[in-house]
């Protein structure tokens, strides 16, 4: 009881300090930039993961609704503030899921970032928070100089993983500098498609989802396409993602697919083909980590194993079909432990950490071993401009590498350009 009272006082005084001596910067009134969005030009600067233009492609209301949660979205700003306050309006009440804390579901999370993106330091709110309307989180006694010795310091502020944000304001102490950071135009993100674990359940706070951990580890934008209970490998979502040109696509949907193993192979093959029709960017297929309590639930684990087998078959099929730039991560590579979960499905912070470590290792491997990137282009060129075909790497329109010296008639991608071959 005593503690509750203390908490209350802290929260109240936290709000008081927001009213007095804070300069507020409204992130929803322009001038700001949202990171982690695949379609920033289309989103009208809303904290949503898919723009309305994609809704029809999805053809899935549940998926569309999930895409309006702010998982993986973040803003970056630079300030010399010694006190940073955040107030934000949630689209749903911040009532807990039973298997996730309010911070994980509806909280924001703040990190300082070094200028070279190699070092991040977390900032805690030290119980100075509130989940009313607006919700608040206050970060005080900051010493920005401790980051790199500079008075100013860059921050990244993660949005809630399981809620939506309709309004966000960042307050700094009066007189402090403040500037939002723009998303670099040529930035190539990592697109992660998957289930609730991808979306961040059940990390204790947004920054501890494995996707966000990985983003910091690699200093990369992650486009979080994690849709809790809705990662069913629908055609629609692959069509949507095919418009992106990421450095890698990660497909991590087995935890949601294990109940329908018969569909896995077919959907994965179709989905990868949709992606690679537009670009041959690397695609990583990821197994389910398995049931953590498999020792006592071999039957449950069997579902995971079967799903993983189907995924493996899809991979083999694609390889046979000539698709390259495909990568595969096994349950063993993920290496999750039995204590890494909150409920048998969703990893806790410990599991998130192990996930992130496995991914970082795998992505480093992919970076070393991927094929050259050939994006499809719109212009189709005359064959006369095709130089000596023998020395070129040639792909068909599905992104398959074409071997052999004799090309049949048709359209091919050669040296990054579409070339018509006539006989």
């Amino acid at each position: 009881m005593k503690k509750l009272i203390i908490l209350l006082i802290l929260t109240v005084s936290g709000q008081w300090s927001m009213v007095n001596g804070q300069t507020w910067h409204d992130a929803s009134e322009g001038g700001f930039h949202i990171f982690g969005q695949g379609w920033p030009q289309l989103s009208q600067k809303k904290f949503q993961r898919l723009p309305i233009t994609e809704k029809s492609k999805l053809n899935n209301v549940a998926l569309w609704n999930a895409s309006q949660l702010s998982a993986g979205l973040y803003v970056r700003f630079r300030t010399d503030a010694t006190s940073i306050s955040v107030r934000f309006t949630l689209t749903k009440q911040a009532v807990q899921h039973y298997n996730i804390s309010s911070f994980g579901q509806s909280g924001v999370d703040l990190y300082a970032r070094s200028d070279d993106g190699k070092t991040f330091h977390w900032l805690g709110n030290h119980l100075n928070y509130g989940f009313g309307t607006p919700a608040t989180a206050n970060f005080r006694n900051i010493v920005p100089q401790n980051m790199e010795g500079n008075k100013e310091c860059e921050y990244m502020l993660y949005m809630p993983n399981f809620n939506g944000v309709s309004k966000l304001e960042v307050g700094v102490n009066e007189g402090a500098s403040f500037q939002y950071i723009e998303v670099p135009e040529d930035d190539e993100p990592i697109v992660v498609y998957g289930s609730s674990a991808v979306q961040g359940s059940s990390a204790s706070r947004p920054g501890n989802s494995w996707a966000n951990m990985l983003g910091r580890e690699l200093d990369a934008q992650i486009v979080n396409m994690g849709f809790a209970d809705n990662a069913k490998l629908d055609e629609g979502i692959f069509k949507v993602m095919a418009n992106l040109k990421p450095r890698v696509f990660i497909i991590d949907a087995m935890p949601d697919m294990k109940t329908m193993p018969q569909l896995i192979k077919e959907r994965v093959v179709a989905g990868v083909k949709i992606l690679q029709a537009m670009t041959n960017r690397p695609v990583l297929l990821v197994e389910s980590p398995g049931a953590p309590d498999r020792l006592i639930r071999p039957g449950q684990d069997e579902l995971h194993t079967k799903a993983n087998e189907q995924l493996r078959e899809a991979y083999d099929q694609l390889t046979q079909d000539g698709y390259t730039n495909l990568f595969y991560m096994t349950q063993e590579e993920l290496g999750l432990n039995e204590e890494d979960f909150l409920d048998g499905i969703n990893p806790s912070d410990l599991g998130m950490k192990h996930y992130a470590a496995a991914y970082a290792k795998k992505l480093a491997y992919i970076e070393e071993n991927k094929d050259p990137i050939i994006d499809a282009v719109e212009a189709i060129e005359d064959k006369s401009q095709a130089a000596d075909l023998k020395s070129q790497t040639i792909y068909d329109l599905q992104g398959r590498k074409v071997t052999g010296t004799q090309l049949s008639e048709g359209l091919y991608i050669i040296n990054g350009k579409k070339i018509v071959i006539e006989k």
């Binding site: 807990q96 039973y98 298997n99 911070f103 900032l123 805690g124 006694n141 204790s204 953590p292 409920d343």
Partner: protein, 1116 residues
């Protein structure tokens, strides 16, 4: 085969029963609740404290004790599905910083008999309906055990809620049996905060208490009380009831850090309470700090301060010899940045880190028990432990009272060898030898201590427990009447004691620093000091003084520790009386100060020592020092030290050949860089060429101040001056503050002096720099320049010219030729040696200072050519003049027969005895002696008619052949110019009209209109003069002032040879006139000898005889 069949049958039976519903097993049975102390007392309630606690512990703690944190039941079953239903006492959903699965959920683990615990996920098959909750664990198929026994399950209760009912169900026909808590169970008791209670793990099994319980195979009683772990006495009373505990964990800092002042006392008294009832190990745990300490360090500081206090308590516990207490540091817990949810509580990552640290530490404790009687170990085991404990009481080092460090090394080696022997089970005969060595070395440690030596000592805290002062020694100093502490290396002055050995073998400790010792750099800790503190205390060696002594806070009635040494406390009286009232503004709850360990540290810093000595000196000693300094100057004057322009010390400056370059520098700007210079430029007589040190960081940053160094080679000096020429190109790089160092080997340098505020003129000669002995190398280390451009450790400098000269005695130095000066100087030098000894002894007296000053003055007089005879004559002449005047008085008669002016021909200067420096045109000197008052002489009273004089207007008389030694004048006032008569007149006399001697000033001459004539008093000039000048300083009206003084007007003016008046008071006495005349007659010669400084003793005695003669007559 048979066994398999039986198993099958059972399984079938159990599976079949699914159809028939569940069998429920209420957990409310005696003796099956793990994680609960006082089970028999508590009875059937799921809570952590018995009712008896309610009156002992704060209500907040009591309320939280009803949360079921850490409680768990174990059972065996062959069921494939396990159902849990329970009733919560509070809302299932109350906190933002933890999931419901932790707050209100249960958590299931299982194991095969003797195997490891494994988690069973609930797969989100739970429901919370109001206060009723259910969990269903289905599809369980544990692999069969070897002996066919049923697997064992462990079910954790909610961490942040209460449970009023708990029941486990299995399908009918399945086996089910609760496991009882063994009667001889020895639990780990964990007392702590919300973190201990489990916040913010993802589920009950991930609280660190749960993790260590599984991995250490030990029952753990969770006494974590969210936000309420303040180590109250009553809480420890409760803990002490759990006598059966195998380990007590005290992990309260994350809460109690907010009142750090109470930590030391609470911990000490708590540990003692536990120790009184149990020998079990006690583990004190620091706060794990904050994960965001990089960006928000101040949040973490609070933890650090709390931890420092806990460490302080631990030090004290060890010192007191309380056994079996262990310590877990923040570093050992090692929280990472991912490990917290909001900055206060660990998430699962943090819980895992906590658990790992605990497990490692507890395993260590199990492997290294620290009990007094060593358990079943070998005798050497016990000896090693005992020795390690005793060692904590000893302080090793070089300070007085400390045991020499060599013995520390020796005992450490022996203990290491012994431990290795124990660990390798190789203890046989060699261990007897090791044990003997350990015992004898310990005896040596007990009896060998560094001796006390006379000298000055700081009192230093060996402890690092002050607020922001972790990790270094603190020394006491005084500020006003208060004791203060400051970091030893930042002290300019400290609280220092002088310790001297007494004749009876005791030692006197004298408080020699006074309240004048003020160090404003202190950190503001302020404690009131007893005014009788240690002043001139007599202490007994080896017993009263010690490397360790203690300060006790009597304000809080903390007990003295038996067997501890503290200064001057034979009767148990306070050594230091500390008032906590001003202890800390940041910690108003601070009521206790605890104990600190202090020891003596010799003062070795010469600056500090000098300051101490200075402060200790009496006023007389300080004055004598000043007198000695004056005497040194006088001796210098006598020696007439000077720079000899013909003896330049620096002749070679070849930049390309170090063998022919006397200059060097640590910071010479490299050649061919932006701007550089040569050493040779310093000797070329041209200030526009220069030498310059590094002034651009590209070329390095010297770690020492930039210096110029000179090698004098075969011409070492003991005193020198240097001539400095400022670089005309780099004027702001000229020297301002310079330290002069000297060396003979070029490696060991002695600081000679610091010259500060050197002039910024183009050239200057330094003062004489005396080295005390002969040196070959001189270094000029530059601390400040005009512009002070710092590169590395000091400013860059540039010089145009630089030369050094030895200082020698001048050829005409008086002591070389003047015996008197020589003798007096030697006498003074002898006196200075004695005076220095008196300063050292601090025993100077006013009489001695006067004596010393007289000896000094003798030298001054000698330098001035004076002898004692001529000085004696000087005073005799003065006395003679006074006596003569007394005899005759100054009343004189203007006797017409003695008129001295007879010629005043204005047309013929040869026949005019008068002269005025500024006569008014056509005024006649003849009018002064025409007997007519109405005809007058006027000085210049209108500047348009002549050249105004620089000084006073004067009238001068040439007595020609009538030179006189005493005169009187008669003044006739002109009635037409009433405001112009003389009022104040200075009389001068001369024999060549060039050099004038001042005789005296006549004041208040009559100026009234009733005055016609008046005669002056006798003007006694003591020797014969031809010229007498009357300078008019004032007239009646002082107007007009022309030039340097007022114009005057005289009707008549005549000068007479003075003749003593007949009415002079003493001349009627027989013999006075003769005696006075005789004395008067002797005076001219005496004056001459006085002037020539050739007086002899005879001359002195002659005058003295005549004077005595006259004085005798006058006195009769």
């Amino acid at each position: 085969m048979r066994k398999l069949i039986i198993l099958l049958a059972l399984i079938v039976n159990c599976q079949l029963s699914i159809v028939n519903g569940q069998t429920w097993h209420d957990a409310n049975q005696g003796g099956i609740l793990f994680g609960q102390g006082w089970t028999s007392e508590i009875g059937s309630t799921y809570q952590r404290f018995p009712a008896s606690a309610q009156s002992k512990v704060p209500s907040g703690v009591w309320n939280l004790s009803k949360n079921t944190a850490g409680l768990n039941v174990r059972f065996t079953t062959n069921a494939k599905t396990i159902y849990v239903k329970y009733t919560l006492t509070g809302s299932a959903l109350s906190y933002h910083n933890m999931p419901v699965t932790l707050q209100s959920g249960v958590d299931l683990y299982w194991r095969q008999q003797g195997g490891q615990w494994h988690w069973v996920s609930q797969q989100k098959k739970f429901s919370f309906n109001g206060q009723n909750a259910t969990y269903t664990y289905s599809d369980l198929s544990p692999a069969s055990s070897d002996d066919g026994s049923d697997p064992e399950y462990m079910l954790y209760f909610p961490m942040y809620n209460g449970v009023s009912a708990m029941s486990v169900g299995v399908d009918q026909g399945c086996t089910f049996e609760y496991v009882s808590v063994p009667a001889d169970d020895k639990p780990i008791v964990a007392y702590g905060t919300s973190i201990c209670q489990g916040c913010s793990a993802s589920r009950p099994g991930m609280a660190w208490t749960s993790i260590i319980s599984r991995e250490l195979e030990s029952n753990v009683i969770n006494l974590g009380f969210s936000g309420s772990a303040f180590m109250e006495s009553g809480v420890f009373d409760m803990l002490a009831e759990l006598k059966q505990a195998k380990l007590f964990i005290i992990d309260a800092i994350p809460n109690i850090k907010s009142s750090p002042g109470s930590i030391v006392n609470s911990t000490l008294s708590g540990v003692k309470k536990l120790r009184a009832v149990s020998d079990a190990p006690i583990l004190l745990v620091e706060s794990f700090g904050n994960s965001d300490k990089v960006m928000s360090p101040s949040e973490d500081n609070i933890d650090s301060k709390g931890n420092a206090k806990l460490k302080e308590a631990f030090e004290e516990i060890e010192y007191e010899g309380i056994r079996n207490v262990f310590y877990l540091t923040e570093e050992e817990i090692g929280a990472t940045e991912d490990a917290m949810i909001e900055g206060t509580h660990p998430n699962d990552i943090g819980m895992r880190e906590y658990a790992d640290a605990y497990i490692e530490k507890i395993n260590y404790i199990i492997a290294n028990p620290d009990t007094a009687n060593g358990g079943e170990g070998l005798p050497i085991d016990t000896l090693v432990r005992e020795t390690r404990h005793e060692l904590k009481k000893w302080h090793f080092g070089s300070n007085p009272g400390e045991t020499p460090e060599t013995l520390k090394v020796k005992i450490d080696q022996l203990l290491t060898a012994a431990q290795e022997a124990i660990d390798s089970h190789s203890c046989d005969a060699q261990c007897e030898g090791l044990m003997a060595d350990i015992r004898s070395t310990m005896e040596e440690i007990r009896t060998t201590r560094n001796p006390m030596e006379e000298g000055y000592y700081y009192i230093v805290s060996a402890f690092d427990g002050f607020y922001d002062t972790k990790g270094y020694e603190m020394a006491m100093y005084t500020k006003g009447t208060a004791l203060n502490w400051a970091k030893l290396d930042s002290l300019s002055t400290a609280y220092v004691y002088k310790i001297t050995e007494q004749a009876d073998g005791n030692w006197a400790i004298q408080n020699c620093a006074t309240a004048t010792y003020i160090n404003t750099a202190g950190n503001g800790q302020s404690l009131t000091m007893s005014n009788k503190l240690l002043t001139n205390q007599v202490i007994t060696p080896e017993t009263d003084w010690s490397a360790r002594f203690r300060i006790c806070n009597t304000a809080n009635s903390l007990p003295y520790i038996p067997n501890s040494n503290y200064f001057g406390s034979a009767d148990g009286a306070d050594v230091f009386n500390m008032s906590t009232s001003s202890y800390s503004a940041t910690d108003p709850t601070s009521q206790a100060y605890g104990w600190y360990t202090w020891y003596l540290r010799a003062v070795t810093d010469t600056d500090v020592l000098d300051e101490i000595l200075r402060t200790m000196k009496t006023e007389e000693t300080i004055e004598l020092e000043a007198a000695i300094a004056e005497a040194e100057e006088v001796i210098d004057m006598a020696m007439a030290l000077q720079a000899d322009e013909n003896t330049k010390l620096i002749t070679e400056a070849n930049d390309n050949d170090p063998a022919h370059c006397q200059f060097s520098s640590n910071a010479k700007m490299p050649e061919n860089t932006r701007v550089w210079g040569y050493y040779r430029n310093l000797l070329d007589g041209d200030r526009s060429t220069f030498f310059i040190t590094i002034h651009d960081r590209t070329y390095g940053e010297p770690t020492e101040p930039h210096y110029l160094q000179v090698d004098l080679r075969d011409n070492p000096v003991d005193a020198f001056i240097f001539r400095y020429g400022r670089s005309s190109s780099w004027p702001t790089f000229s020297w301002k503050d310079v330290t002069v160092l000297a060396s003979n080997d070029g490696e060991q340098w002695t600081e000679i002096t610091e010259l500060s505020g050197l002039p910024s003129s183009d050239t200057y000669d330094s003062p004489i720099i005396k080295l005390g002995k002969t040196y070959r190398h001189l270094r000029f280390s530059v601390n400040a320049t005009e512009g002070n451009l710092k590169i590395g450790a000091g400013p860059a400098f540039a010089i145009g010219e630089f030369q050094m000269y030895p200082v020698v005695s001048a050829d005409d130095a008086p002591f070389l030729t003047n015996t008197t000066v020589n003798i007096k100087t030697r006498a003074l030098q002898t006196a200075m040696i004695e005076a220095a000894q008196i300063v050292e002894a601090n025993t100077a007296t006013a009489d001695y200072i006067a004596l010393f000053r007289r000896v000094t003055k003798d030298v001054v007089d000698a330098i001035n050519g004076e002898t004692s005879e001529s000085i004696a004559l000087d005073s005799l002449i003065t006395a003679a003049e006074q006596a003569y005047l007394l005899a005759y008085g100054d009343d004189a008669v203007a006797d017409d027969s003695q008129k001295l002016v007879t010629e005043a021909d204005d047309n013929d200067p040869e026949h005019c005895q008068y002269f005025c420096n500024c006569p008014y045109p056509n005024n006649k000197y003849a009018n002064l002696i025409d007997g007519n008052l109405n005809s007058y002489f006027f000085s210049l009273h209108n500047k348009n008619h002549g050249t105004p004089p620089e000084g006073y207007h004067f009238l001068q008389v040439d007595l020609k052949d009538n030179a006189a030694d005493a005169i009187v004048f008669r003044y006739g006032r002109n009635p037409s110019w009433p405001t112009f008569p003389w009022k104040t007149v200075d009389v001068y006399a001369s024999n060549d009209s060039v050099n004038w001697n001042y005789i005296e000033r006549l004041t208040d001459l009559p100026t009234g209109t009733d005055v016609t004539y008046y005669d002056s008093k006798a003007i006694i000039m003591w020797q014969t003069y031809r010229y007498v000048r009357f300078e008019v300083a004032e007239t009646a009206s002082n107007s007009p002032i022309i030039g340097g003084g007022p114009a005057f007007c005289i009707g008549e003016f005549q000068v007479y040879r003075a003749k003593p008046s007949d009415t002079a008071p003493y001349t009627t006495v027989t013999g006075v006139a003769q005696a006075a005349d005789a004395l008067y007659a002797a005076l001219p010669q005496a004056r001459a000898k006085r002037q020539d400084k050739t007086a002899t003793a005879d001359d002195v005695s002659q005058i003295r005889l005549l004077l005595d003669n006259l004085n005798n007559l006058l006195n009769n």
